[in-house]
């Protein structure tokens, strides 16, 4: 019941959905449409679970006064305030909820990712070395693409964007396609293993089981 039923549900749904793809009968289409609707609702709760876990981690930190508990308190307060304004005033543009989003979340999140520009520049200087043939190839391809994708490359020579285009269109395409096919085959075999119950790690261990 605790392990067998989930494995059965997983296999049943997986096999049914694969068969459905090849047999577009009106009944199978109706079934498929229903399942898609259900899938969306169930997935929503899975995402909610993620947020509850985050809240729990910070709650535990605060209640046990662990190291840096103050910052966890900040996280919990900002979580509560966002929840409150969202449910109390709605989510349309111009409402407090969207103001928090626009003026607090947006600037911080995009700044956080922009920090990488600094680190990438410093890494380029310190570690990007033409030590071997492969590393040299990587370096040359990177430099051509970097130049070919900005106006200055075009100004230096119209050949640079053309070469960078060729790198992207042919050797890059070959490498990325090889990866895509490899990953595709890997994930399909993993999917089949899950459906057939060979791979069961998704069951997880709950209460020692």
């Amino acid at each position: 019941m605790k392990r067998e039923l989930p494995l059965f549900i997983c296999a049943l749904m997986g096999i049914t959905m694969i068969i459905q793809y090849f047999i577009p009968h009106p009944y199978s289409i109706k079934f498929y449409q229903t399942v898609i609707g259900w899938f969306i609702i169930i997935m929503t709760f899975a995402f909610v679970l993620g947020i509850m876990s985050i809240a729990r981690v910070h709650w535990n930190k605060v209640s046990r006064k662990q190291k840096d508990w103050f910052y966890s308190l900040v996280a919990l307060i900002s979580l509560s305030v966002t929840l409150f304004v969202g449910f109390a005033f709605g989510i349309e543009r111009g409402k407090p909820f969207m103001l928090i989003f626009e003026y607090i979340q947006v600037p911080m999140e995009s700044t956080m990712f922009s920090l990488l520009a600094f680190y990438i520049a410093s890494a380029a200087f310190r570690t990007f070395r033409a030590r071997t043939f492969e590393a040299t190839l990587l370096l040359i391809a990177a430099v051509i693409v970097m130049l070919g994708r900005v106006p200055i490359g075009y100004m230096i020579s119209s050949k640079i964007p053309a070469i960078s285009g060729w790198i992207l269109d042919i050797p890059n395409l070959a490498a990325k396609r090889g990866i895509m096919i490899g990953v595709g085959l890997g994930s399909i075999s993993m999917g089949l293993k899950i459906i057939l119950g060979v791979e069961r790690s998704w069951l997880g261990t709950i209460g020692g089981e």
């Binding site: 898609i36 969306i40 979340q105 410093s122 990007f128 970097m146 106006p151």
Partner: protein, 278 residues
């Protein structure tokens, strides 16, 4: 000399940070106005939209979040304005939970700029959980994933959506994203329902989508801020991407110079170390 170079190679990285900051700020204050050339994958997206007859339905899925706003907003704005100028019926949505705020802002701002009316010229459906199921759901009937729009109005009460059912009524899907979501649009919407998919992606993702471009699974691809600048130029609405191209050129040059100097210094130091040992 060797010691000096050794020190130079190990210098505090904050000097480099400072150079990068200057390289970005100066051209923003004093623009140079470097010319932008048009590449084929971007032109393909433009042509695909430009050739559509008035009143065609397009889905624009703004699948990005605040982290990639500086890169993808300019793209989204240029595409939205292009679609509105062509009098297409625009359905916007997002498949990222952090997307609604960003997507609503882009949709509403562009609609206002082009004098478009909500419900008649465009609708905003908001976000729905479950990427694959949502894309597949639209393929059957848009009302399965989206019984209502973002504001809680039933889809059937929106004048524009009367008579619209699924991808059969859609000319093209344009997905703008900094994630792997465009691959899902290709797999689920194009492969299963044969709708045209075009994509605008962050530069990080751009190289990965070339396989889809060559097979025609994507009709076109806009990559990064440069792609956005090209699209702005094509539509004739120079914006943030266009302005950013100067700084982009300077920083790319700076990084290339850093790589070259770094390598020269490294090889000199290595050579002299070898000689020292010998």
């Amino acid at each position: 000399m060797k010691n000096l170079l050794d020190k130079f190679l190990k210098m505090d990285r904050r000097y480099i940070f400072f150079l990068v900051a200057l390289g970005v700020i100066i051209p923003l204050i004093v623009p140079i106005g470097l010319p932008v050339d048009i590449t084929k994958p971007v032109k393909d997206v433009y042509d695909a939209i430009d050739s559509l007859p008035e009143g065609s339905y397009v889905i624009i899925s703004l699948d990005y979040d605040p982290a990639t706003i500086p890169e993808l907003d300019p793209m989204a704005y240029a595409i939205l304005r292009h679609c509105f100028r062509k009098n297409l019926k625009v359905i916007t949505m997002t498949l990222l939970p952090a997307g609604p705020g960003v997507a609503e802002m882009a949709t509403k701002t562009c609609a206002k700029l082009e004098n478009k009316k909500y419900g008649e010229d465009y609708v905003f459906l908001g976000y729905k959980v479950g990427v694959s199921a949502v894309i597949l759901g639209i393929g059957e009937d848009i009302r399965i994933p989206f019984p209502q729009d973002y504001y809680g109005t039933s889809i059937d009460d929106l004048p524009m959506m009367k008579g619209y059912k699924n991808y059969d009524d859609t000319e093209i899907v344009i997905t703008i994203s900094g994630t792997n979501v465009p691959a899902s649009w290709v797999a689920y919407a194009h492969q299963r329902y044969h709708v045209n998919v075009a994509s605008g992606v962050t530069a990080v993702m751009a190289a990965d989508f070339y396989p889809y471009l060559q097979t025609g699974q994507m009709v076109g691809l806009i990559g990064g801020l440069k792609g956005a600048a090209e699209y702005e130029k094509l539509v004739g609405v120079p914006g943030k991407a266009f302005v950013g191209m100067d700084a982009q050129s300077i920083i790319h040059s700076l990084i290339i110079i850093l790589i070259i100097i770094g390598n020269i210094a490294y090889f000199i130091v290595r050579k002299s170390k070898k000689e020292g040992v010998g």
